[in-house]
């Protein structure tokens, strides 16, 4: 980043002093705060979060209606369909959190991230506000970092919205209490809550890769829509490729390949192998596409 400071227009730093009256690190924080506020105040963002919050409500009500007559869910035998953990919801509302996350992680969550990340740079360029952001003395690297941090914050918020909505619906519609791990052992409700929080964090971390990919795409174009569409398109493509058995040699390197490994946290003892691989892959994607986005954004001609 020091390199970038050197790159800054000489007068800009003066401007920062004048404008903020503060030193640079705090100024970055201010930039992040304003970015966060802009992002989370947008109707688009709120609508996305509302859709995400609706998923567990729908799942919860559907399960409640389905099992209202005393029947049990997933009675179709061991091959019973539906997202993971769905058969346990009626016995413990906490499982709705896991089911909702398992249901939203493949598409809803990454799609929302794709929209936010794709919009990050390209959206500003599209609206013609990017150059004004760059006139401010933040520097391109710092602006990019801020954008990425905002996207990650959205990952976390989106996941938590799903989890909290699911927990609320689960608590309202179903009993809570001690729960059985998928290994058959029992854990207390408090530990279950702890694991639910851990799972939400892991799910949020699973989205780091998509966020970096979306940010990179976003630096390539001046059209916000194009960036969002490309990111979501890539997401769907990768998900489809992940289902093709002939590509099994490549699949471990897809960002979505280990997504559902968060369920391993519900094993006793926890099975860490795939979780670690998942986080490693996300880190790798963040490094590769983050640096590619930086290379592109800091060298590109900003024309809008």
């Amino acid at each position: 980043m020091s390199q970038d400071e050197a790159v800054l227009p000489g007068g800009a730093i003066e401007g920062a002093r004048k404008a903020g009256g503060k030193v640079n690190p705090l100024w970055t924080f201010g930039l992040l705060r304003s970015e966060l506020l802009t992002t989370f105040r947008r109707w688009r963002t709120l609508a996305l979060l509302a859709v995400l919050a609706a998923v567990p409500i729908l799942v919860g009500i559907a399960v409640k209606i389905e099992t209202g007559d005393g029947g049990s869910m997933g009675g179709g035998g061991p091959q019973g369909g539906g997202p993971a953990f769905i058969s346990q919801i009626t016995n413990n509302g906490l499982f709705l959190v896991f089911t909702a996350l398992a249901a939203t992680l493949p598409f809803f969550l990454p799609m929302a991230i794709g929209v936010i990340a794709g919009d990050a740079i390209a959206g500003e360029a599209n609206a013609g506000t990017l150059r004004y952001l760059l006139v401010a003395p933040a520097g391109r690297s710092r602006l990019l970092l801020t954008k990425y941090a905002t996207t990650m914050a959205f990952c976390l918020v989106a996941t938590l919205v799903v989890a909290i909505s699911a927990l609320t619906v689960g608590a309202l519609l179903f009993p809570l209490g001690e729960l059985t791990t998928i290994s058959g052992t029992r854990i207390s409700f408090a530990e279950g809550l702890g694991r639910a929080l851990l799972i939400a964090l892991v799910v949020a971390a699973s989205l780091i890769g998509v966020a970096a990919l979306g940010l990179f795409v976003s630096t390539l174009t001046n059209s916000g829509i194009a960036a969002m569409a490309t990111t979501v398109g890539l997401l769907i493509t990768v998900q489809i490729l992940d289902q093709i058995p002939q590509l099994h040699a490549l699949q471990p390197y897809f960002f979505s390949h280990y997504w559902l490994s968060f369920a391993d946290l519900m094993r006793e003892p926890v099975y860490w192998d795939d979780l670690v691989k998942n986080l490693g892959i996300q880190g790798l994607y963040a490094a590769v596409f983050g640096s590619a986005a930086w290379a592109r954004f800091t060298t590109r001609d900003i024309t809008a």
Binding site: A6, V7, L8, P9, G10, S72, G74, G75, G76, G77, P78, Q79, G80, A84, F85, S87, Q88, T90, N91, N92, A102, R131, L134, V135, P175, G177, L179, T180, I182, S183, G184, T185, R186, L260, A263, R267, E268, Y271, D273, L284, A287, V288, F289, S291, A292, W294, A295, T298, T299, D301, I302, T303, A304
Partner: protein
């Protein structure tokens, strides 16, 4: 044109870097490329570096190693096992699994029930991760890890629980506390049995050697190489990695004589000989779970995919949990041969056996008509049937050979079935001699 001006000024200041803009741009892209390169190198090299060091262990003879296995008294253990099975079965889902399970069931000398538990027969193809834990005779647990679900088989005292977390169904059976004597006689289940059997086999049709050392699940191990001396068998070699400290077999690999990938590769990826937590073996059916008691199940004949019969379950359980888990798994798959290699006569009611050693072939008389040929069935199904097997003729008449990479079966038109880990010619020879 204000924006362009500001842009220009930025460019101008950036130009202070002394580098032509093209080269500077290129230089920045070096970063992501480097990251990719480093990542690729790490992924490629780290396992290679980690694998390179075969541990230095004192030299040992095959007899000493077998003795070591025999003396192994591992009572407490927990670990993760990865099993890859590649029988070369056509991927037909249930049909393929059914065929394999048939072979497995008959192999273990249990001709009666040809529908073993669906869960454990899944192991017959693909790669699976299992978790095992044991604490003495009366506490064992075996879990089959699936996507976001798990199938657990828990033996604690006199209870045997099967729990399928995906469907939230529970199976409950009982076991006598001091149990298992009978079934253990059928197949060599303890390391001691195995070692004795293996020793007998050394002079006969098999060569047993120590083939260096290896690292398995972070532990130093000797590699015991078992090779058939006869030709005609589909078994190329069996390698068993034996823990140098405890004498516990850690990895079992069976390669076919036709070459290529291992047919069975089962080994610990992580193992600990500490006492597992007692809670591991505790099980109470979760609220709302559908519990099937073994008595009900006998009546209904196991309508769910859950374990079919308690007997079967226990058998599988015993086998999976024989102290030498890995070898047992092998025995299960190449049962007829493994049993006979050691000169054991098949139990009463079991199949008749032709040939000896690795080339022995088990014969069943189904009394039926054999497999209908494609022409009889007609249509698409007929073509499908024909594509599965090769037609053969010989002194015995004619029949169809069904092939996998390890076990081949000849079903004659008069309803006899010849099964063995031998090639097609050997099957025909066996059928001829049986006539």
């Amino acid at each position: 044109m204000a924006p362009y001006e500001s842009d220009d000024s930025t460019t101008a200041v950036e130009g202070v870097d002394d580098l032509p803009s093209g080269r500077r741009k290129a230089a920045r892209y070096v970063v992501p490329v480097t990251v990719v390169g480093v990542a690729a190198a790490t992924i490629g090299l780290v396992p290679a570096i980690a694998d390179s060091g075969d541990p230095d262990l004192p030299k040992i003879t095959a007899e000493q190693l077998i003795e070591k296995i025999a003396q192994s008294d591992v009572e407490q253990l927990s670990g993760t096992v990865k099993i890859s099975t590649d029988l070369g079965l056509p991927d037909l889902g249930g049909l393929g699994a059914g065929f394999a399970s048939g072979a497995m069931a008959s192999g273990s000398g249990d001709g009666s029930s040809a529908d073993p538990s669906a869960k454990l027969t899944e192991l017959a193809s693909g790669t699976h991760t299992l978790r095992v834990a044991m604490d003495g005779e009366n506490k064992q647990k075996l879990s089959l890890l699936e996507n976001a679900s798990e199938y657990s088989l828990i033996h604690n005292g006199k209870d045997v629980w099967g729990y399928d977390s995906k469907s939230n169904e529970v199976f409950h059976g009982t076991a006598e506390e001091a149990k298992g004597g009978q079934e253990k006689e059928d197949v060599p289940a303890t390391p001691k049995d195995f070692a004795e059997e293996a020793l007998k086999a050394v002079d006969d049709t098999t060569s047993v050697t120590v083939d260096g050392t290896a690292q398995v699940a972070g532990r130093d191990a000797y590699r015991l190489l078992i090779k058939p001396k006869q030709s005609g068998t589909t078994v190329g070699a069996i390698t068993v990695a034996v823990d140098a400290k405890t004498g516990m077999p850690l990895k079992f690999t069976l390669t076919p004589s036709s070459g290529g990938a291992a047919v069975i590769d089962a080994g610990f990826t992580q193992v600990s000989f500490a006492k597992p937590a007692a809670s591991t073996f505790d099980f109470t059916p979760p609220k709302g779970a559908k519990v099937t008691e073994e008595d009900e199940l006998e009546g209904k004949g196991g309508e769910h995919g859950a374990p079919k019969s308690e007997d079967e379950l226990r058998k599988e359980f015993e086998k999976e949990f024989g102290k030498d888990f890995d070898k047992d798994f092998g025995m299960e798959l190449d049962g007829p041969k493994a049993g006979d290699k050691t000169g054991k006569v098949a139990p009463e009611g079991g199949p008749e056996v032709i040939g000896e050693g690795w080339n022995s072939v088990a014969v069943f008389d189904t009394g039926g008509e054999g497999v209908p040929s494609g022409a009889e069935v007609g249509g698409e199904m007929g073509g499908f049937l024909d594509s599965l097997g090769d037609k053969v003729t010989g002194k015995f008449g004619s029949g169809t050979v069904f092939k996998t990479r390890l076990i081949n079966a000849l079903i004659t038109d008069d309803g006899k079935v010849y099964v063995g880990a031998v090639d097609k010619d050997a099957l025909v020879k066996a059928a001829d001699s049986g006539k």
